[in-house]
């Protein structure tokens, strides 16, 4: 015979209120456990979203060609001018368009130079690029237009500038159509980059983009920093990679002197890292919940011995062992539930703080983590209360009542 559930709930609630210190202790333990899960998974999820976001802005189905074998590949702009076995040239880039699997390419050149307008001047990263880069990188133009769609070797004197550059050079004045000076050459501003342009390593807002041929003249070089090749589909990535290696080897007198990186490989690496991160987060969260569970067991054991006389009395009044177990478990359930909800609030507040402190990191606990945390909290609460509940049910009422 089980008493009505509202009665059980009311009795358990009364018992919890009757021992506020104990109740508070257990609520805190549970809340911290659940909050840890929420905050940690929201951090992990934030990191994952951040990285996938970065990759999306880098482009999709990309094959990146760097001059030199991987050991000698210069990865930062200052090593650009350094010697590599053989330069990548614009002709190399053009040769790469001759495959059905290649949707579009973008040769890139990077350097730095002084950019000035009237009396204002600053040093800036200069990106030599082509019309295609905008779509490959999924960038957006805020004002004006991007580089014109002309032959790659046309050094049209036009520039697209980032919004930071625009603000620093022009302030509140209109920038479109103005002539700026880059190094010893003059370029007309035809566009301003939108806020989308943020990707690994390069902040487009601090960059000036000019046609690749103009950049080669500016820096007095025929080489390219790298070539971005976009494959038609995910399945085309490997054929494109083989095609690129083969084409460039033929063009470079049979020497394999380029490095080809697929975005897949990079993504796979990040996947592994993020996977490990998720496991670590899960493990830490599990430990904190287990600690909460063990604390609940201890405190429930104390609760049972604290209330020995009461349990003995309930038995004398006709409570069956089952009813005693139900009452103790109901108490644990109530505690776990309240603690978990409290932890949920705490955790959500925590991820809110993180989102405010680091706006780049979209820290938000995924639904599955919240549901799992709640379930695990309730299950541990119940599981770890089974032992104390059984002990209470088996109490000898005579002994229990004779104790003061």
């Amino acid at each position: 015979m089980i008493p009505h559930s509202p009665d059980v709930a009311r009795f358990s609630w009364g018992a919890l209120r009757g021992y506020p210190a104990r109740t508070l202790l257990m609520l805190t333990a549970m809340a911290i456990g659940v909050a840890a899960v929420v905050v940690l998974t929201s951090l992990g999820e934030g990191a994952r979203r951040y990285v996938t976001g970065e990759f999306a802005s880098l482009g999709t189905n990309l094959v990146i060609v760097l001059p030199g074998r991987s050991e000698t590949a210069g990865l930062n702009p200052t090593t650009l001018m350094g010697e590599t076995p053989r330069d990548l040239t614009l002709d190399d880039a053009l040769a790469l368009t001759r495959s059905y699997n290649v949707r579009r390419i973008a040769p890139i050149n990077v350097g730095s130079a002084d950019v000035s307008w009237q009396s204002r001047s600053r040093e800036s990263v200069i990106l030599g690029a082509s019309h295609e880069l905008l779509d490959i990188r999924h960038w957006k133009i805020a004002q004006g237009r991007f580089l014109p769609n002309t032959d790659l070797d046309r050094a049209t004197p036009v520039a697209v500038i980032g919004s930071t550059i625009r603000n620093e050079l022009f302030g509140a004045k209109p920038a479109l159509g103005e002539w700026i000076r880059i190094g010893d050459r003059r370029f007309r501003v035809i566009g301003i980059m939108g806020s989308e342009g943020r990707s690994i390593g390069v902040d487009v807002q601090e960059t000036v983009i000019i046609p690749v041929a103009a950049a080669q003249q500016l820096f007095n070089t025929t080489s390219l920093f790298r070539i971005l090749v976009e494959a038609r589909s995910r399945d085309a990535i490997q054929p494109v990679k083989r095609f690129v290696i083969q084409t460039l080897q033929e063009r470079h007198q049979g020497i394999k002197d380029v490095t080809v990186v697929t975005q897949d490989a990079v993504l796979a690496t990040f996947d592994r890292i993020l996977g490990a991160l998720t496991y670590a987060v899960g493990g830490i969260a599990a430990i904190s919940l287990a600690v909460a569970g063990i604390l609940i067991m201890n405190v429930m054991l104390v609760a049972v011995s604290q209330r020995t006389a009461e349990i003995g009395l309930l038995k004398a009044l006709g409570a069956s062992p089952r009813q005693i177990i139900v009452l103790i478990l109901a108490e644990a359930l109530l505690l776990s539930l309240l603690g978990a909800l409290l932890g949920l609030l705490l955790g959500e507040a925590g991820s809110l703080v993180i989102r405010h402190a680091f706006p780049v990191l979209p820290a938000q606990a995924p639904i599955w983590a919240i549901v799992t945390a709640l379930l695990v909290a309730i299950i541990t609460g119940l599981l770890f209360s089974l032992l104390p509940a059984r002990r209470a049910a088996q109490l000898d009422p005579v002994l229990a009542l004779s104790r003061r």
Partner: protein
């Protein structure tokens, strides 16, 4: 009707066996008024616990209203305790966080009665013991006599056949003790079997049947005078 035949209850203390109850055979008719007296350690509390199904005999048979209750399962014994037996303790054993009314309500909750059936019965039980104006007081706001009256209300709210009282006046001053005994005797007059353990000869001698225990055996039995009708004494 309570029938005990050849009841033994042994405790193991170290390597010694203590015979708390040694071959007790006893029949108590329904509606009887029995006092159990004897020095401490004589087994009178063990006998009471056994009668209340809080303890199990090592051997022997206990029949309650013709039914062998020692053979019942835990759950069935709990039900018998709930429905047919009421307890009154020396220490009152009220749940401190619950009000008087909630303490009285407990056995009905354990019986699984819905709230709308519980409320009138709780009110009635409190009314009968003149506790209606105290029903929302916590035990620590009540005097000793009032606490024991709440305990009696709790013991009788399920309308049991048997009321077991273990030193019900042991923690009370003389006046409230007298008061409590009169209430118990009044309940007995209305048909409730009253079995009371006491070491106070004055209390014990009021019972119709007086059992004396010594070393776990029923030592002597006296038939007392009929108890005073409580209403005569009340001013």
């Amino acid at each position: 009707m309570i029938e005990l035949s050849h009841i033994h209850r042994n405790f193991q203390v170290g390597d010694q066996t203590v015979h708390a109850l040694d071959d007790v055979t006893l029949t108590i008719k329904s509606g009887d008024y029995v006092s159990i007296m004897g020095p401490s350690g004589s087994g009178k509390s063990t006998l009471l616990n056994l009668l209340g199904l809080l303890d199990q005999p090592s051997s022997g048979i206990y029949r309650l209203n013709g039914k062998d209750v020692t053979a019942l399962s835990d759950i069935e014994q709990a039900r018998v305790r709930n429905r047919e037996i009421g307890f009154v303790f020396q220490m009152f054993h009220l749940v401190p966080r619950l009000s008087a009314a909630e303490n009285v309500e407990l056995p009905l909750i354990l019986a699984g009665l819905p709230p709308e059936q519980r409320r009138p019965r709780v009110a009635e039980a409190l009314e009968e013991l003149h506790l209606t104006d105290r029903s929302h007081h916590k035990p620590d706001q009540l005097s000793g006599g009032q606490r024991q009256r709440v305990a009696i209300a709790r013991a009788t709210v399920t309308r049991p056949n048997v009321l077991l009282a273990d030193e019900p006046t042991g923690n009370l001053d003389h006046t409230s003790g007298q008061d409590v005994v009169r209430i118990l005797e009044d309940l007995n007059q209305r048909g409730l079997t009253l079995i009371m353990v006491t070491h106070d000869p004055e209390m014990g001698s009021r019972a119709r049947r007086q059992l004396h225990m010594l070393d776990g055996r029923l030592d002597a039995e006296l038939a007392g005078q009929a108890p005073d009708t409580p209403r005569h004494d009340t001013p």
